[in-house]
């Protein structure tokens, strides 16, 4: 079976634009949780987010793309450019059917969508932009990346809420195994419009704490929910043999295992599917729990979510049996972007032998038997990492990344 490796990385995260800036901030334990400033969130009970503040789309993208794209697409276009540069891959030098693209989305470009809805109801149908037919919908990033770079291979858009970033990578790997040499893949999210934030309120999981350092503290005894964030990552996933043949400048690592599962209907009394996703992904990668050097947790930030995950980890690896981290405490939960960004973080941890810390959590809750990396980054050789992600409604996904051989 073809081996899927990552040869290019592009990051747009609240804590850093570009891989180097992001990694420096992440290992230093920086955080980008702050009051939402793209609109006045003052009247809402939850007012914080991981916001990207220094993104200058006009400097980074051709002007003609700006009016037809939401922020999620602008992030994706820029991250893709960086991923291709990192991979040293010029799409025009390859057969167009050899390059695919699979992205994840949760809400599409909804800031754009809310603006056009407002025009429809205040100015009438004629005021709705011709771009609205595609600028907000869930496939927009896949389409725009394909067009910009002439990628004509297998294309797809996956929606599994917060599990989406990992599911997109799993789908990309499946395309590699079926013979496509390279697939751009990942996820991007931005809920920085009133509808985006308000849609998350009824679930009761958004943190209403106003102190950016106290709002999102997964696995703490007094966890208060999550803070959303925007951004994500795009990776170039490549067939290992194809990457070698073209002399790819670097192999960041292998996507060695993947699995996804779904939780039974709430109240069914059946076990949540996260344990199965993790075990199946390890099996798929042909590694034992003992081989895993670090786990990047989903880190729901809610009592119920944290309990399930901590139990899964304690059972699979033994109590405090493996270092666990959640650098997303510094970025907020990026939804579809989170899994992709965590895979990037895992690859960088492998590269440098550093596990970045879970910021803002001072102490692991008494009920959680996990070795959460707190305070400072931990130096230790990392060869194999397990990345977990969950989506609302019961979606679970797991990816195993491994150092290139």
């Amino acid at each position: 079976m073809n081996t899927a490796v990552v040869t290019g990385i592009g990051v747009t995260a609240p804590t850093g634009l570009g891989t180097d800036a992001y990694w420096a901030a992440t290992t230093a334990g920086s955080t980008a949780i702050r009051p939402v400033d793209r609109f006045d969130a003052g009247s809402y009970p939850a007012r914080l987010a991981g916001v990207i503040t220094d993104f200058d789309e006009r400097a980074l993208l051709p002007g003609r793309l700006i009016p037809q794209t939401d922020r999620i697409t602008q992030f994706a276009l820029v991250a893709t450019q960086w991923a291709l540069t990192d991979a040293g891959l010029d799409p025009s030098a390859h057969s167009d059917f050899d390059l695919g693209v699979v992205t994840a989305a949760s809400a599409g470009g909804f800031e754009y969508g809310q603006r056009e809805l407002q025009k429809l109801y205040t100015e009438g149908p004629q005021a709705v932009s011709a771009y609205m037919s595609f600028s907000w919908f869930y496939a927009v990033n896949t389409g725009q990346l394909s067009i910009r770079h002439g990628l004509r291979g297998p294309a797809a858009a996956v929606v599994t809420d917060g599990a989406g970033g990992l599911d997109a990578l799993g789908h990309a790997r499946r395309q590699i195994r079926q013979g496509t040499p390279a697939v751009l893949s990942g996820g991007m999210e931005s809920a920085m419009c009133p509808m985006g934030l308000v849609s998350q309120l009824p679930g009761g999981e958004l943190s209403t704490v106003d102190d950016p350092a106290r709002a999102y503290r997964p696995f703490a005894d007094d966890a208060t929910g999550y803070v959303p964030g925007e951004g994500g990552a795009i990776l170039l996933v490549e067939d290992a043999a194809a990457a070698r043949r073209r002399g790819a400048p670097r192999i960041h690592g292998e996507i060695a295992g993947y699995a996804s599962t779904f939780d039974a209907r709430p109240g069914s009394g059946r076990e949540p599917g996260l344990a199965r996703a993790a075990a199946l992904a390890l099996d798929d990668a042909d590694v034992l729990p003992d081989d895993v050097d670090v786990v990047f947790a989903d880190a729901a930030g809610t009592l119920a979510g944290d309990q399930v995950e901590a139990q899964v980890l304690a059972k699979l690896f033994g109590p405090r049996g493996v270092p666990v981290t959640a650098p997303k405490t510094g970025t907020g939960r990026l939804n579809s972007g989170a899994g992709a960004l965590d895979v990037v973080t895992a690859l960088l941890a492998i590269r440098d032998g550093v596990i970045p810390p879970t910021v803002n959590v001072e102490r692991v809750g008494r009920r959680y038997e996990i070795d959460l990396v707190l305070g400072e980054a931990r130096r230790t050789p990392v060869r194999t990492a397990l990345v977990l992600a969950r989506g609302k409604g019961g979606f679970n996904a797991a990816v195993v990344v491994r150092a290139a051989t």
Partner: protein, 424 residues
């Protein structure tokens, strides 16, 4: 990928304009009767296109409970009703399925549009407030905002705990969801996949979007004959709604339990055109490549194809594009193959239509009948294939090809075959 695994369709459920249920759907399209009409869901007067293919669908009549009706967007309701029909058709109940080995793959292009727009309207007080009023948020708002809820509802319905996802590849979402489901069976991730697509997009925002790019027809004076694929007078599609959910099973799994097999999904491929978010190139190169790859997987020669269920949206460029793609991929056999667009009768239900058309392919193989292209009286001389005008044909179909194109540049092809027609 284990090549010995094969994928069978053993159950079909359809909700389509003009008839709820597989039987009603198939009877209507074989009769060549259109289900397009003036929009009744809201006053279409301010819009350029005022025609739609609407379902007369009462969720309570189909067994949904008051809470399900309140919670679910119309697209989810369609999907659940189709799931029930399809499971029963396959001779299965949820308790027959092994949860861990059962997956769900649902396609949709625009998700929970109707609920999202309706809730926006309240939260923004008719569009007046940019900072919408959160105190008016309904409990399941997030499920409308993120449409993976559509797949979750189906998974709950059948008790699936394997891979569950929503595939949102624009208007190829239906074909692609089934193609992706097939891949889950082939690579051993699941033994049964409840797969299909659903769409309920007939809402002001969707109509306004298609108005803005003139993709929909403005034949408002003649709603019943508004969607005219391959006709000289064609001027765009009619927005539709509906769903189809199929039971896909590993062929051996199906045979062991003595299930009826409608057809095998013998090949699937999708390619991107990397050309334009809403436009199509006239040469059909990428769609032709998808057809070529799907046929290659099926190890069937183009000459074996007995029917093509086309995309046939009746836009000027689509019908040219796919005609070129069929000639490019099937060669001389393109001229000998009946090609029809059932959209002429049930409209274009965006992400759902590819699954509904796949259901039609399975039914064509099963029943030996080919639905027509309605409203085709004056064939465009530039389009020179056999588009099966007006009347259905009785004809044995061993292999059917389903093709589709979608915004974002998606080009998909699926080959369906009678299992005996495929070399094992």
């Amino acid at each position: 990928m284990t090549l010995t695994r094969r994928v069978a369709i053993t159950g079909i459920g359809v909700v389509a304009p003009g008839g709820i249920g597989t039987r009603a759907f198939w009877d209507r399209i074989l009769a060549g009767r259109t289900a397009t009409r003036r929009v009744t869901f809201f006053d279409p007067a301010p819009f350029r296109s005022q025609v739609a293919a609407e379902c007369d669908f009462d969720p309570a009549e189909h067994g949904l409970t008051p809470q399900q009706i309140r919670r679910m967007d119309r697209a989810a309701q369609f999907a659940v009703v189709c799931t029930r029909e399809s499971l029963a058709d396959a001779g299965l109940t949820a308790t027959d399925l092994v949860p861990e080995r059962t997956a769900v793959t649902i396609g949709s292009a625009v998700g929970c549009t109707i609920k999202l727009e309706a809730e926006y309207l309240v939260l923004s007080d008719g569009g007046r407030q940019w900072t919408v009023d959160h105190r008016y948020a309904v409990p399941h708002l997030y499920d409308y905002y993120v449409p993976s809820s559509l797949a979750a509802e189906v998974a709950w319905e059948v008790g699936a705990e394997g891979p569950v996802s929503l595939v949102s590849d624009g208007c190829t979402a239906g074909i692609d969801a089934l193609g992706y489901a097939r891949e889950l069976i082939l690579d051993g991730s699941a033994d049964v996949v409840v797969a299909g697509a659903t769409e309920a997009p007939i809402a002001p925002i969707t109509v306004a979007c298609f108005d803005a790019i003139r993709a929909t027809t403005n034949n408002n004076d003649d709603p019943e004959h508004a969607l005219r694929p391959y006709d000289r007078s064609r001027n765009g599609f009619v927005l539709g709604e509906g769903a189809a959910v199929l039971i896909l099973e590993e062929l051996g799994h199906a045979r062991r339990r003595g299930a009826k097999v409608y057809a095998e999904i013998a090949g699937f491929a999708t390619r991107a055109n990397a050309y334009h978010m809403t436009g199509l190139k006239a040469d059909g190169r990428e769609l032709a490549e998808a057809v070529r790859v799907a046929l290659d997987q099926s190890r069937l020669a183009p000459e074996r194809i007995g029917w093509v269920s086309s995309h046939g949206t009746a836009t000027k460029q689509n019908d040219k594009h796919e005609t070129a793609a069929l000639k490019r991929s099937l060669g001389a056999h393109a001229y000998a193959t009946p090609v029809s667009s059932i959209k002429s009768m049930i409209g274009h239900s965006l992400g759902a239509i590819g699954a509904i058309e796949t259901a039609a392919c399975a039914l064509a193989i099963d029943t030996g009948a080919i639905p027509p292209t309605a409203n085709l009286h004056d064939q465009d001389p530039e389009l020179d294939l056999d588009y099966v005008p007006l009347s259905a044909r009785e004809r044995r179909v061993d292999v059917a090809l389903n093709i589709g194109s979608g915004f974002g540049g998606f080009q998909s092809a699926m080959v369906l075959a009678r299992p005996e027609a495929v070399a094992a």
